[in-house]
């Protein structure tokens, strides 16, 4: 089973999203939570990196953290799926392991 990666820091402030994208395997899943959700927005300077990741990895964003910061599904890159807390739990249960990029 594939690994689930969580990222919780803004890619504009830390390098953890880049570390995650470059060290995660094809077929693995990446979930953006807390301040990392702003990395999922359209038209940012990390959009190209995330778009490339979507081609061979599953990328998710935690919807409640996105709404908290003033954004909705309409504002994020095509191909990134929104999950709620129950979906977060499902992802953890479905994957063999979780790696938290802090």
């Amino acid at each position: 089973m594939a690994m689930l990666h969580t990222v919780n820091k803004s890619p504009f402030e830390r390098n953890s999203l880049n570390s995650c994208l470059t060290k995660s395997k094809e077929g693995s899943s990446i979930l953006l939570i807390e301040d990392a959700v702003v990395g999922a927005l359209k038209g940012t300077k990390v959009a190209d990196d995330l778009t490339a990741a979507i081609a061979n990895k599953n990328v998710y964003v935690l919807g409640s953290d996105l709404n908290t910061r003033g954004f909705t599904e309409a504002d994020i890159l095509d191909g990134i799926k929104t999950v709620d807390y129950a979906g977060f739990v499902d992802l953890v249960a479905e994957h063999s392991n979780v790696q938290s990029w802090l």
């Binding site: 927005l41 910061r69 954004f71």
Partner: protein, 134 residues
């Protein structure tokens, strides 16, 4: 008294909610308003997210403190500088930013938000007596 008025600038660089910096800075700003100083705020880097429109904390259960920024105008804090390049790097425009206003001496409603470039911001910071970053 007028001699003791200093120019205070609060520079907000962090996204809200993930860390406590944004809320703490706002609290200090509101305290400073009580001392009749010349206060201005900057929102640059991830700080621009602090004043993004439509913040909805219902699902996350966090305290939504974004409405408090709307009160700044009532405390005569009406110089809110937003860095243009920071918006652009994040795929944002002024449409994503709250419409914060104040009333001037004739009770006319005026915008508090001022879009500035990185170079203009450097000049503004240079003019200050005190700069507090978070």
């Amino acid at each position: 008294m007028s001699e003791s008025i200093k120019k205070f600038m609060f520079v907000n660089t962090k996204a809200p909610y993930g860390t406590v910096y944004a809320l703490e800075s706002l609290e200090v700003v509101l305290i400073s308003a009580a001392f009749d100083q010349d206060v201005s705020l900057v929102f640059c880097d991830d700080g621009v997210f602090q004043i993004s429109n439509n913040q909805n904390t219902e699902a996350s259960g966090m305290k939504n403190f974004s409405n408090a920024y709307k009160a700044l105008g009532d405390y005569d804090i009406n110089k809110l500088y937003v860095e243009k390049e920071s918006l652009e790097e994040r795929g944002l425009t002024l449409d994503n930013i709250m419409d914060l206003t104040y009333e001037d001496e004739d009770w006319a409603e005026k915008p508090s938000i001022k879009l500035v470039t990185r170079a203009e911001l450097a000049d503004l910071m240079d003019e200050q007596d005190v700069v507090i970053s978070s």
